[in-house]
Symmetry: C3
Subunit: 345 residues, 3 copies
């Protein structure tokens, strides 16, 4: 199979310099690419390869300047464009065939959209609504009164508890749990009594949730993951939290109850948030930080406890000098004594 | 639907001041509540709202003093009482209908109690005993020789490995794993050989376990979660650990092998415990701490490594002054030199 | 049932001193063992018990010197040998009966080996190949084009995504996910667009993976867990990582994308690795460390950020002295002032 360079440029959204009729038969790394292949240059360090590569065409940064006559596709993000080209040559085969597998159990009064793919041993509760084109992989369990929008993919063994509301084009990876009870107990004497968790979880459009994530339902009201947020694997979102639009959270991070993240936050792996905090928009938190205070718009914090990154860096640098400092102070103590002795005379 | 104020006071276990015949039709926040609604006051900051709220009745702290003639229900924990009232107006519908779904697979010689709700695609091993009134949600898998008490709820896709023993009124949330092999290997030359994990897990009465938790079986003997302990999501309990009565552990915390927690511990999120430690009763560990030493009764520790909270706070405060300290020492060095020069003369 | 001491010595791979015909009927701790039982001595502290125990035989270290006439089995690792003896007396019953359960769904063109045990509600995709003697526990879901070798055990509710390749004698515990999409997004304006994850995961021979682990597929190419590596529960392995031969990783640790661990690494619990790092062979990382730099062969690091263990210990020790240091510097400041005043005269 050959694809014309013009078609590839269109598909990746780049500007073509060269003959659009050139036929391309595959993709490769810049050092390895040969005739009829397309490659990419993301790191300026490798710019010299654009001259020497055997590839018939190269995807380059928009502002790349080249003396070579090789065909180029200019893109703002060449690596991402290249990955789109990879998909063009290796289109993913569908996860599941269309249709409702005969072993799927569907509750009464549940409304199934058109064009679904529902795998073996999926269980859907009563009074649910599943949108058009949604894919439910094998072993997924959906409680009563759940609403899932169009074009979602729920991977194998996902659990969605009752009353959860999920938007459109949401992807949830294997083993994740949405709508589990919030962790709430009232101390009665020496024991704990369970506080009923009667709220829900809302997942808005275009959210992606990794594997084995847990998102708890609210005590009252909602836990909400807003439009376009992206959660990695093994993340914990406690009851009554909000994750803002287009916020990304790396693996194994955790939010305690009633903490609200703003828009476009970038949260590192294994970060922990205390409860009842508010994080502004465009904030960032370095990996493994322990956040015990709210964070204003645009701030970047880091550390345990998390502080503005410059402060933490300053303290960490000082800390490395601490053993030498102790030695110096010990010497100064001696010099001080000597001086005091002298001046006493 | 209206419920009389007297009935509500009974249900929440409070003392009524006012007309028990007043009909209440719903619940609301104190700023938003209107006629025929009940609300609550937990935070003294909002006490003035008790006079101005539109609500027909207010749940207040036991010692609340009011000049108003509004109907009150006095309770030790008004928020918890209010949540009980919420449940009265919005009773949870059952997770699952009673009965054994025809697709459930039940092993030979397994003894099922009365009044069970066993969902689609549940698999129960051989020689198990499941108590009365227990609910097994869809996709749950129970190994051979497992014993589960009365009135338990195992949510969807929970895995219980062979020989596990679970008490009464235990709740286990979606995706959790009880009885997986402990992480034990013997180094033989350059490689590792698996150490057989022949022990079991015991979960006592009234334990609640969050979603996607992992509790490993013992190498020999037992891993045991004692009566009334509450575990949040994504927690790791290694082989041969004990979690004491009424101990609460927040999300993503982990215990290494053979560590024993006492009664009524409060363990923060993302805390890690080394192995072979012993924690006394009524101890507390701050979030993200790394515990490398045993903890006596009643102690509160925090930090990495975890130390008594006052020590850690003192060190952290000192740490913030460290960059200024370095500057000061640099100045003292100069002043010292100057002094030494002077006194040499 | 009695087993001869000679047979036990053979089974545990030890050297017998005494009568191989002695019949042994069970195992016990050294303080509790009685006639016809076998016990072990691992800790030299308890050596005196070898004389006084009621056991008929004791498994002892290879170099143990005894004046007693009691029958001994000498082994390099007595505890491990004892556990092998335990298994001899309490052989594990098989997790599952041989055969393909009639409810298992097997895709077209999938090739099943001999002697399999495939449980209820297992789903296997198309064009898979499952080796001989492999066990697939209930609720396990295997995507299309997956290859699994001989003698593997996949516990209940494991998810293996499409195209994953698994070697021989691999054990994967309940709820783990292999082959989920890597966490890759390209920022396009204010939003994120998904980067297709077209690579795979390869798990080599003799790997063991704990419960509720997540291992992401590569963006391009492979994520690879090499021969003999052992992963505990709730671990995150991001896209394009490598875990080297015989490396062990404790629970709740996480690797960011494209990080490569060497052979025989020992990684503590809750450790986090930044992305694009390289760790040499025989390195070790202390629990909860945050690794932000590559680690050479044989190095042991610890801390947040992780540094060679001696450095971190030196800094931590200094840190504990910091509050006293501040007090001392305050005093020196006063003494300095006094000296300066004096010398000014």
């Amino acid at each position: 199979m050959q694809i014309s360079l013009g078609k590839i440029a269109d598909h990746v959204g780049g500007i073509l310099e060269g003959d659009g009729e050139i036929g391309i038969s595959g993709v490769a790394k810049i050092e390895e690419a040969g005739k009829d292949q397309i490659t990419f240059l993301a790191n300026p360090k490798y710019a010299r390869f654009v001259e020497t590569t055997g590839a018939s065409a190269v995807i380059v940064p928009a502002d790349f300047s080249s003396a070579s006559s090789r065909a180029l596709i200019r893109c703002p993000d060449p690596y991402f464009a290249f990955l789109k080209a990879v998909v063009l040559f290796h289109p993913p085969h569908p996860l599941l065939e269309k249709g409702i597998h005969p072993t799927a159990v569907v509750g009464a009064e549940t409304d199934l959209g058109d064009d679904l793919a529902v795998g073996p041993y999926v269980v859907i509760g009563k009074r649910c609504r599943i949108g058009h084109g949604t894919v439910l992989m094998p072993g997924t369990v959906i409680g009563d009164d759940v609403c899932i929008g169009d074009q979602c993919v729920l991977h194998a063994n996902v659990c969605i508890r009752e009353k959860t509301r999920i938007g459109r084009r949401v992807i949830i990876h294997c083993g994740s749990v949405v709508g589990s009870d919030g962790f709430g107990f009232a101390r009665v004497g020496q024991k704990y009594e369970k506080i009923p968790q009667t709220g829900i979880v809302v997942i808005e459009d275009d959210v992606e949730i990794g594997a084995n994530v847990t998102i708890d339902r609210a005590t009252l009201g909602e836990t909400r993951i807003k439009r376009g947020a992206k959660l990695d694997n093994l993340i914990q979102i406690a009851h009554n939290c909000t994750v803002g639009e287009d916020t990304v959270i790396a693996a194994q991070a955790g939010l305690s109850g009633s903490t609200h993240l703003g828009k476009r936050n970038r949260i590192g792996g294994q970060v922990g948030f205390a409860g009842h905090l508010t994080v502004g928009d465009d904030a960032a938190v370095g990996a493994q930080s322990g956040v015990d205070k709210s964070i204003p718009d645009g701030e970047m914090v880091f550390g345990y406890p998390a502080r503005p990154i410059r402060e933490t860096m300053r303290v960490m640098a000082a800390l490395n000098r601490l053993p030498d400092l102790i030695r110096e102070i010990r010497q100064m103590r001696e010099r001080m004594k000597a001086l005091e002795k002298k001046t006493r005379k």
